[in-house]
């Protein structure tokens, strides 16, 4: 993974000093609350319903065991002893004191971490496939490009005060999109052209929130060296022309729609012409330099005979391997997902002790590195197959081996009304109720892969629009209600879910989900996935069942 040199280190240290000064001025009254607000936001510091919340950047989801241990210690020393992994591959502390934040940032800086631009109307953490670099079918490892984008976007002087937040995602797998690039402000698909040169297919204007939109392609092939100047051009067109009068209409998706994608693309080309081939153009030396941080670790070859025997002898283990282990590009290795979705714990939450266990597992089994996944789970990307059994046993003890990856109970869920000041409704209790209702693992396997996503309000942090089943907290005359949508999809066939109908009270939610699942089971062809059945039969049968009068 990327390692700071003196340049990177100094920038982060200077940021800590700057933020310490800002916080001191805030407390002594020389910096007004209104002016401190956007500054603390650009350092990831929100003030939530119950307490401040600090969001720490995990660039494209990569964490070392050292960083994990620091996160655990910070959560113990400054917070209530747990951390929350978010759907954007970041980490949150839910209860720090504002006055402590500069010290927290200082501790994080020591392990090459920061909270720069994790919120506010600026370019946010770039995200990518949690399996980057270890899957066979990717064009090439997207992480060096993510790191190049991270550096370019860090304190970009022109784009610190955009109309609205701005998210970039990169995918490098032709047929699968775990990074959901089509619902980002900019989505970059790494491709090779006919001559074998590396470049990007560029999408803009995707997004969730109030007005969910699938991104539009504006460039079929952008050669890699032009990446940054082209991004500059997109951002400049947006910065100058995006709406600033209404924050709900300020995302780039609204601008792209208003201009139409082709006119927007022309405006970008025109702007780009000024900057193209300037010194801002990437050099192959730089691309190569960054790539050196992402070379494959020293894989060894070990016999798999025992692994095969363990699979045959232990169906529970075999099940876990089937569900939570993915194929690695290197023979004899495997990609393991540790699930943080055990019933009874809020999705994405881990205690300080658990985080330390994850760090130990990473050291023992996966070259000391982990990735945070969008579905709020943790990935050990380089595990020897021969050691899976041993790992499984340890993970099971620690509660990370619920074999529900990709299943209904492996939900994505935002922090919601328990923590978030913007929430209309709580989301975590809904997730728990559904997990309790569907606690029969065999039944879950029969149902197959099914994404259920929950957001506590329109801001859609839980990505409810692109869940096969989406749940959105709404406020009805001061009471918490839940709107259900069906048919969303975050992958290559990205789609925005359609609303089922009037919303439901919280206690009705497990019944509602069960009815939806029953309609699916009754109408399913063979092993069809929920999303495919829905696409085939449409909304009506679901609607009839859920809203049928009980008489």
């Amino acid at each position: 993974m990327y390692k700071y040199d003196d340049y990177d280190r100094k920038i982060v240290q200077e940021r800590v000093a700057q933020f310490r000064g800002q916080t001191e001025r805030f407390f002594d009254g020389t910096l007004g609350a209104d002016e401190y607000l956007p500054l603390r936001l650009q350092n990831g510091l929100y003030v939530q319903r119950h307490a401040p919340m600090l969001r720490v950047a995990v660039p494209y989801g990569m964490l070392s065991s050292t960083q994990l241990r620091t996160l655990a210690r910070v959560s113990r020393d400054y917070d209530k002893g747990y951390v929350h992994f978010t759907t954007r591959q970041n980490v949150q502390f839910n209860w720090p004191e504002i006055k402590d934040v500069p010290s927290i940032l200082e501790e994080l800086a020591e392990v090459e971490m920061h909270a720069i631009q994790t919120s506010g109307n600026c370019i946010r953490n770039t995200t990518t496939d949690q399996f980057a670099g270890v899957v066979e079918d990717e064009v090439l490892d997207p992480r060096p490009y993510c790191e190049i984008i991270r550096q370019w976007s860090t304190f970009h002087p022109e784009f610190a005060f955009l109309p609205r937040k701005f998210k970039i995602a990169v995918n490098s797998v032709p047929d699968v999109d775990r990074a959901a690039i089509l619902v980002h402000d900019i989505g970059l698909q790494i491709i090779k052209n006919e001559a074998g040169e590396v470049g990007f297919k560029v999408f803009v204007g995707g997004g969730l929130g109030r007005t969910p939109v699938i991104g539009s392609e504006i460039k079929a092939f952008l050669p890699e060296k032009h990446l940054l100047t082209y991004l500059d051009a997109i951002l400049r067109v947006y910065n100058l022309n995006g709406r600033r009068d209404n924050k709900y209409k300020a995302r780039i998706k609204i601008l792209v729609k208003a201009m139409t994608p082709s006119v927007f693309a022309e405006a970008v080309e025109k702007e780009w012409a000024h900057n193209k081939d300037s010194d801002a153009t990437l050099t192959s030396a730089e691309i190569d330099r960054v790539k050196t941080f992402f070379v494959a670790p020293d894989y060894v070859s070990v016999s798999n005979a025992e692994h095969e025997a363990q699979l045959a002898a232990n169906p529970e283990f075999a099940n876990w391997v089937k569900r939570n282990v993915n194929t690695h590009k290197q023979d004899g290795y495997a990609i393991v997902t540790l699930t943080l979705k055990k019933t009874g714990t809020p999705p994405g939450d881990a205690s300080d002790k658990q985080v330390e266990i994850i760090a130990n597992l990473a050291d023992k089994y996966s070259f000391g590195e982990v990735r945070v996944a969008h579905d709020q789970n943790i990935v050990l990307a380089d595990v020897q197959q021969a050691r899976l059994y041993e790992l499984w046993q340890e993970a099971k003890l620690a509660g990370f081996a619920t074999a529900n990856l990709g299943m209904l109970t492996d939900m994505i869920c935002c922090p919601g009304g328990d923590f978030c000041g913007l929430a209309n409704a709580k989301s975590i209790p809904v997730a728990e109720q559904i997990q309790l209702r569907f606690d029969d693992l065999d039944y879950l396997y029969d149902l197959g892969e099914l994404e259920l996503n929950i957001s506590g309000c329109m801001n859609a942090c839980g990505h409810h629009h692109i869940g096969n089943i989406g749940i959105l907290g709404v406020d009805k005359r001061g009471e918490e209600f839940y709107q259900v949508s069906l048919g969303g999809d975050s992958g290559k066939n990205a789609a925005i879910g359609k609303i089922l109908g009037p919303s439901f009270a919280r206690n009705d939610m497990p019944d509602v989900i069960e009815k939806i699942i029953n309609v699916f089971v009754e109408n399913r062809h063979d092993d069809e996935l929920f999303i495919d059945t829905y696409r085939r039969i449409g909304m009506d049968l679901f609607k009839e069942r859920v809203y049928a009068k009980a008489d």
Binding site: K10, H156, P157, F161, L162, S278
Partner: protein, 162 residues
């Protein structure tokens, strides 16, 4: 007299910013004219070193192109500091239109934006009245290095990294 940070020192701000509805006979002493008023009178005002122009955040600098050599001061207004359009307007003026004269940030100009403003080509800052000017001056050097190229540093870090 209000203060101005220019070339990294604090001086008196002798310039008056005229409102958008001002007329040409309001011009006395050193004055920054709103863009429309300046453009109407550009021919008559050329080479008048007591006259500058200010651009609001929803305006664009392009129309000034033919006059750039004759303008002593161009100011860009930040109605609110979170309105970041002025940064792009400044870069277009410097990088694309080649403006060489004084580029001044006016309006809601605060300590914590100084570094970004400088990087985008501003060399004069009329900080908001209640802002501690000395401290704001120090804000110009919050960071000793940057990843991107900009007006103040023509090479990105990856072309300078040793």
């Amino acid at each position: 007299m209000p203060k101005l940070i220019k070339n990294a020192t604090i001086i008196d701000n002798e310039w008056l910013t005229l409102e958008k509805d001002a007329t040409i006979d309001a011009v006395t002493g050193k004055a920054l004219l709103p863009l429309a008023l300046y453009l109407e009178n550009a021919a008559a005002l050329s080479d008048n070193s007591n006259v500058g122009v200010w651009i609001d955040s929803d305006e664009r600098a392009d129309a000034l192109e033919p006059h750039l050599n004759n303008i002593a001061v161009i100011a860009i207004n930040f109605p609110k500091f979170v309105d970041g359009r002025g940064y792009s307007i400044a870069r277009i003026l410097r990088d694309q239109l080649g403006y060489q004269g004084e580029l001044r940030a006016i309006g809601d100009v605060l300590h914590d934006q100084m570094f970004y403003l400088k990087r985008c080509g501003f060399d004069a800052f009329a900080v908001r009245e209640d802002t501690a000017t000395e401290a704001a001056l120090a804000g110009l050097s919050d960071f000793s290095n940057s990843y991107q190229c900009a007006v103040d540093e023509p090479k990105p870090m990856f072309r300078r990294r040793g």
